[in-house]
Assembly symmetry: C2
Homo-oligomer: 461 residues x 2
């Protein structure tokens, strides 16, 4: 039996394939104690672990099954899938705008990765042109893979590199920037870029996909075309998240970087603007602004890059019966900033008041947000709120908890003076704090459905 | 000047009232460094702090202004508000069902509280009849104030008392139970009651109000009538949250206790069923079930009360760049259970893998949920997910983070055997885990608007 038949499989994984006389590209049903899994056995890389069999299921998901748990494998046929992307030279047209696409990792414009059993990004302009030829109608594309990390592994090193490279590209004269990013923490990166990169003269558009391009329902090409269009032609010179629209695949939405959050673990329409309406709708033909208060594109090359960052900041997600030792632990570990996601209008229980007092006495900067995600912190209404403010906890209005976390990291990277930090935190940079949340900014933006929009205007909440 | 003029004010608070020659029940504009506040100066109790002036604003909110920050007060008139509730004997009708209302605190059926500058619950049947006479048309009401705590201060002592009293009332033959509760943590209490009180033969209905009954827009009476009706006449014998409907004040919604969450800090329509549709719509005339899979009312008096509870459980709300010392701190402090709210399909960053391994090696029970709130944990898709499972972290399907926290407290109160705990956690009791989330269970339930419902059925997400 050739090694190609077991490509990448060693140890227990290979042993189970041999035992049941199957190999890569075989269509099988695997039986385990937890149930059966039907799909195509995928090859793996030399560096894969040796304990899993990876199959592509009908849903398009690749799953890894522990070899030890497999009690039977039956074969139903063979079919090889070609994951090669045809590479074509990306055409250059001097009349078209110039866009730089930064790759950071994630499933946008991706293909199968033998190592993870998942997907890898395609990044040369030629590969992108080969898979999404529409991009050449929009712009001249330059691509650069900054790094390749799963988005949950992003950290200050990656954010700072990205901010600095954005600044350099802007100075070099590019007309727009697209950032391919894993969706898990795309909104966190969008938030920190909103603070690190200010007053950009061109659009900075983040994009990802919830389903990889080897799945029939992939949103990769759809989102990528929209993002490149927003970067090349759009007039909104802000940090934007460009993802699938809420209710159909007719359009995408552009979300302000500091007001967006991933709200579904698997739907393509996972990203939503919270407490406000999105910036614009976008399809392959046009960009339709939904509001006029955006920062427009400029001719100059001025941009402010401020990559200050303090790592010792944490989020305290309040739950009833929280004990004071949780707060004490953060102080003992040397954290300099705490963002609380409180209940209701911004509350925590009485037993932790003393611990919060100890924290602020120790110089820790503590800010209150709401875990309801929609609505404002309002600590004047109840005496409990006033008492918590008396402990030195500062209400952060309607900043989302994740955004407040990123902003506090950024603020504490600049100063530790209490009043200065407070001033930075409470001065809005990119609508992370707004004066009011419109009625149609609650739960779902229905702008695409005029009848619903009209109906919602007539009712109370 | 009489003490009545300064009722409850001492120290700096009283001094500032004297300085500007104003007193309680005066309509004023207070000027501070942060801006002006117009409203009615409210009396306070003997035990109030002496640093705030409390005014009722036009919005109905009572706010406390620090006396030290007040630079001017101008008076525009006087008007006394009567917060007395007319007390009338609650009529008894032997043909009507018997309902017990437990008071726990919160703003339901409340009136002004001089101490907090906020509101206090009215709890004698006579007071409730006086303020909401419709209740007598529905049932014979018995009330009992179990305790009076702000809902953020609820803990196992209160939850266990409540579960035991519910069991006793059911055995005594009551036809339904209503629990008045502050809204901040109503969904947490609903979750733990779903586990502590199982197979009830009668409805157990939690209710609260987002705006106190002294505000024109109060939802207190509206919600209370619905809750009492659901308890007295409803056929759904489960732990239910009864609150304001999503889009109008025409109806309320009944939510399953383990699938509901507060999603707005101030709107009356704050409570939403997540990842599913609600149990029923309710108005003063009828209860309209939206699904048929509920547990119906029974004649017997059998109910299972299990008040097991382990307090050393915490929630770890993941954010990018989380450091391992946060996980280590929880282990060092002796926590026995950790519910992670991960990003995406249930991910955390690589640097904390080793700390999670140390936690599970130390016998800590670690479960994964998703901070997107909608959708499932799916840790088989990416190698990272499989690696995290390899550390001993168990995916908790589509349990909400708060619900998983409550269930882990309850499971660890019963056993510390790893497989037993896992079995308890992953066996659904009250739809805290479901097989699938319907398309209209995402973000907003639109059941009340047939046109919207119809539209949503035709589109993809």
């Amino acid at each position: 039996m050739s090694d190609k038949r077991f490509q990448g499989y060693r140890g227990p994984g290979r042993a189970v394939l041999e035992r049941f006389d199957v190999g890569v590209w075989h269509d099988v049903v695997l039986t385990t104690g937890d149930g059966s899994f039907a799909g195509l056995i995928l090859p793996r890389s030399e560096t894969s672990d040796d304990r899993h069999i990876v199959i592509k299921m009908e849903t398009g998901y690749n799953v890894g099954i522990l070899a030890d748990t497999i009690t039977n494998i039956t074969e139903h046929g063979r079919r090889e899938i070609n994951y090669e992307i045809p590479e074509k030279a990306f055409p250059f047209d001097k009349h078209k705008p110039n866009v730089t696409l930064f790759g950071t990792g994630g499933t946008i414009a991706s293909r199968l990765d033998y190592r993870t059993g998942a997907v890898i990004p395609a990044f040369s302009p030629g590969e992108l042109y080969g898979s999404v030829p529409e991009l050449a109608d929009i712009c001249n594309l330059t691509t650069e893979k900054l790094y390749g990390v799963f988005s949950e592994n992003m950290g200050p090193e990656q954010w700072i590199t990205l901010a600095n490279r954005i600044g350099e590209e802007i100075e070099k004269g590019v007309d727009g920037i697209v950032i391919g990013h894993g969706t898990d923490t795309m909104h966190h990166t969008a938030a920190i870029l909103s603070f690190m990169v200010q007053d950009s003269p061109v659009p900075i558009v983040m994009v990802g996909s919830q389903r990889s391009s080897d799945r029939p329902s992939s949103d990769a090409a759809f989102n990528l075309i929209h993002a490149v269009k927003a970067a090349a032609e759009g007039n909104i010179a802000e940090v934007i998240v460009c993802m699938f629209g809420p209710t159909s695949d007719e359009y995408g939405l552009l979300h302000r970087g500091a007001r967006v959050r991933k709200m579904h673990s698997s739907y393509r329409s996972a990203f939503r603007t919270l407490g406000d309406i999105p910036l614009a709708m976008i399809d392959s033909k046009s960009i339709s602004p939904l509001r006029q208060d955006f920062k427009p594109r400029r001719k100059d090359r001025n941009v402010t890059i401020n990559t200050a960052f303090e790592e010792r900041v944490t989020i305290l997600y309040y739950y009833p019966n929280m004990q004071p030792d949780i707060v004490d632990a953060m102080v003992e570990k040397g954290y300099r900033g705490i963002v609380i996601a409180g209940t209701g209008l911004g509350h925590v229980n009485k037993p932790i008041y003393a611990a919060l007092q100890r924290a602020t006495d120790a110089g820790v900067h503590v800010y209150m947000t709401v875990q309801t995600l929609w609505g404002y912190v309002q600590m004047y209404v109840y005496e409990t709120g006033r008492e918590i403010m008396g402990l030195g906890v500062t209400p952060a209005a309607n900043m989302l908890p994740e955004v407040a976390y990123m902003k506090l990291c950024w603020a504490l990277g600049q100063t530790t003076d209490r009043e200065e930090v407070k001033k930075i935190m409470l001065t809005p940079v990119g609508d992370e704090i707004t004066d009011r949340e419109p009625y149609d900014g609650y739960l779902i933006f229905q702008g695409a459905i005029p009848e619903v929009e009209e109906f919602l205007r007539t009712i109370k909440r």
